[in-house]
């Protein structure tokens, strides 16, 4: 749908990231040169641009296409917006016979299409599962955004957030005193709920574990219940842990704009915090793309992490952490406490298709379900073609979780809403658990558009925390 794209970033959002403040003169040549640079640097990108045979397998696999019926939201249509420019300037046929191969010049019209449609891609990679060549539209979309940023055309939502994360330490712009105050309040709530002094520590030197989690966990609903769930697990297992006020963000939006240079800056904050606090382990909270960055990029961006305890995965996902404790018998669940709920689980795209968890293939699907089944009696999966590697994006991933894209977000949520509605009708599902801050916020927002309640989306660690057997309160 031609909505003109999200709000455009201002100079204050672009310049600190190393980009021009606004669209530069002569941007056409700079954009073409940047495209050539990226295609030569990343062979995968060049292969993706060269190898499409227009077989059509991807056409109906994108949730935004399903929700909008716009042909430019077919994955191949989206790829072609960049491919037709690549062909014009970087292939023999396109240089000399552009019309024959659908090659076009880099014009303002093309740029406007890029800005619109590369911000209707949540980089979820579902289409790549069905492409016989494995063409990854996410990588093409990231490259397009990197080119646009290079000529001074960035999205406000992403770039404003990245600047905050690099200066204040988290996407929210939550300063240390506010973080400390908020966490103190959560400790009070935990005491009220359990009668136990369950801590949510910050900047504790010498703790065993540094937990890096999305800042939405400190701020938003239902995320905050997930954070309290992590705190209960650490308490029950007797493992010392801490958050860091310096690296108080797991999310790394620089991935969404395809910027390794900026992605590295944020990854290095986490390394620095881990070293300064002297921790032995790094655990990552419930955040989808953060886990992709941590699992797939941290080592090359900010590694080696040879100062951490090699007996544990580096980094380790909170689900993996809790799963390991449960398997070892270090924590116990009373499932019946969740008898009021019938649960299903939403696989987040970056966890499902861009990373793994545990020591066996498919652990990213199995471990969260193991934990849910261990902590509740009623668990039902949504239809098979909408979960595991074929999971549908929530509709708000990839840097699209902004109010100015609300219509696209609502439409893009359609396939997941249909799948959820199916298990609600057939199996009486009451709640959907997720392990991604974006998914949780997006669902809380769009569920009411589909006639469901905003409180039907919950954090996986809320379910875990509710069932967890804790010690007896001191009377």
């Amino acid at each position: 749908m031609n909505n003109g794209g999200p709000f455009i970033a201002k100079p204050a959002h672009n310049e600190p990231l190393g980009y021009p403040g606004e669209l530069i003169d002569g941007w056409e040549d700079v954009a073409v040169a940047k495209l050539g640079d990226l295609a030569s640097k990343y062979r995968s990108l060049q292969v993706f641009l060269d190898s499409c045979v227009k077989c059509g397998a991807c056409t109906d696999k994108c949730h935004y296409f399903q929700g909008t019926h716009d042909p430019k939201n077919m994955p191949v249509g989206r790829q072609d917006l960049l491919r037709k420019v690549y062909r014009r300037y970087y292939t023999f046929a396109g240089k000399y016979f552009p019309k024959l191969v659908g090659a076009v010049d880099m014009t303002k019209e093309v740029l406007d299409d890029w800005y619109t449609y590369y911000h209707q891609c949540s980089q979820c990679r579902r289409c790549s599962v069905f492409c016989p060549y494995g063409i990854d539209t996410a990588e093409i979309s990231m490259a397009a955004r990197e080119i646009m940023d290079t000529v001074g055309l960035g999205s406000k939502y992403n770039n404003e957030i990245i600047v905050k994360a690099q200066t204040i330490g988290n996407n929210l712009g939550l300063p240390e005193p506010a973080l400390v105050d908020t966490l103190g309040g959560l400790e009070e709530d935990l005491l009220d709920d359990t009668g136990l002094e369950i801590k949510v520590p910050v900047d504790v030197h010498g703790a065993d574990v540094l937990l890096v989690t999305p800042s939405a966990d400190f701020f938003a609903e239902p995320h905050i219940d997930g954070l309290m769930g992590y705190a209960k697990v650490f308490h029950a297992a007797g493992i010392s842990w801490t958050l860091s006020s310096y690296a108080s963000e797991a999310a790394n939006f620089s991935m969404f704009i395809g910027s390794y240079a900026n992605m590295k800056k944020q990854a290095e904050r986490i390394r620095k915090a881990a070293l300064e606090l002297g921790v032995k382990r790094l655990v990552v909270g419930e955040c989808g793309h953060a886990w992709r960055v941590a699992y797939s990029f941290w080592n090359t961006l900010a590694g080696p992490f040879d100062f951490l305890d090699p007996n544990y995965p580096v980094p380790q996902h909170i689900v993996e952490f809790t799963h390991q404790l449960h398997t070892a018998g270090a924590i116990k669940f009373d499932k019946e406490r969740n008898d009021g709920k019938v649960l299903t689980f939403h696989d987040s795209c970056n966890v499902s298709r861009a990373s793994r968890m545990g020591d066996k293939p498919g652990g990213q699907y199995r471990l969260p379900r193991d934990l849910l089944r261990a902590s509740c009696n009623n668990f039902v999966d949504m239809p098979r073609e909408t979960i595991f590697e074929s999971t549908y994006c929530c509709g708000g991933g990839g840097g699209l979780l902004t109010d100015d894209l609300m219509e696209v977000r609502v439409k893009g949520a359609l396939p997941r809403m249909e799948a959820l509605n199916h298990v609600i009708q057939e199996n009486g599902v009451t709640h959907m658990a997720a392990i991604c801050a974006i998914c949780k916020t997006q669902f809380a927002k769009v569920l009411p558009y589909y006639g469901m309640g905003m409180d039907q989306i919950i954090s996986l660690h809320q379910v875990v925390g509710d069932a967890l057997v804790l010690g007896t309160p001191n009377q």
């Binding site: 939502y157 929210l172 506010a178 939405a216 701020f219 905050i224 999310a251 979780l401």
Partner: protein, 110 residues
């Protein structure tokens, strides 16, 4: 872009948030609310004033949990929940109430 408050034009951003926090006055909230078809009563002002006080101290809007707890302590448990806040501010306490209070919009995955 701007809004007219007591004869002055105050700059707002694309989403209607006040560009310069220091230009806020109670009239800002009234004008913004009116544009969204809302009348502000004492209940709304309790929230708006709390948001401004919190921002003054911490330079950020409070988490919903912090807000509901503070309201609950002040006005009684039956009002210390997000349902009450959504009744007052149907577009969401974070986004609508913050806007009226002149606070910047919370960013991130929220």
């Amino acid at each position: 872009m701007g809004i007219e408050v007591n004869g002055k034009t105050l700059e707002v951003d694309e989403e209607g948030y006040l560009a310069d926090l220091s230009t806020w006055e109670p009239g800002v909230a009234t004008v913004m609310a009116k544009a969204e078809g809302q009348e502000l009563g004492d209940d709304h002002w309790e929230i708006i004033n709390f948001l401004r006080e919190y921002y003054e101290e911490y330079q950020i809007a409070p988490a919903i949990r912090v807000l509901t707890k503070a309201i609950g302590k002040k006005l009684g448990k039956d009002k210390g929940n997000s349902k009450y806040l959504y009744e007052l501010f149907p577009y969401g306490p974070a986004k609508q109430a913050c806007k009226y209070a002149g606070l910047p919009k919370p960013t991130g995955c929220v």
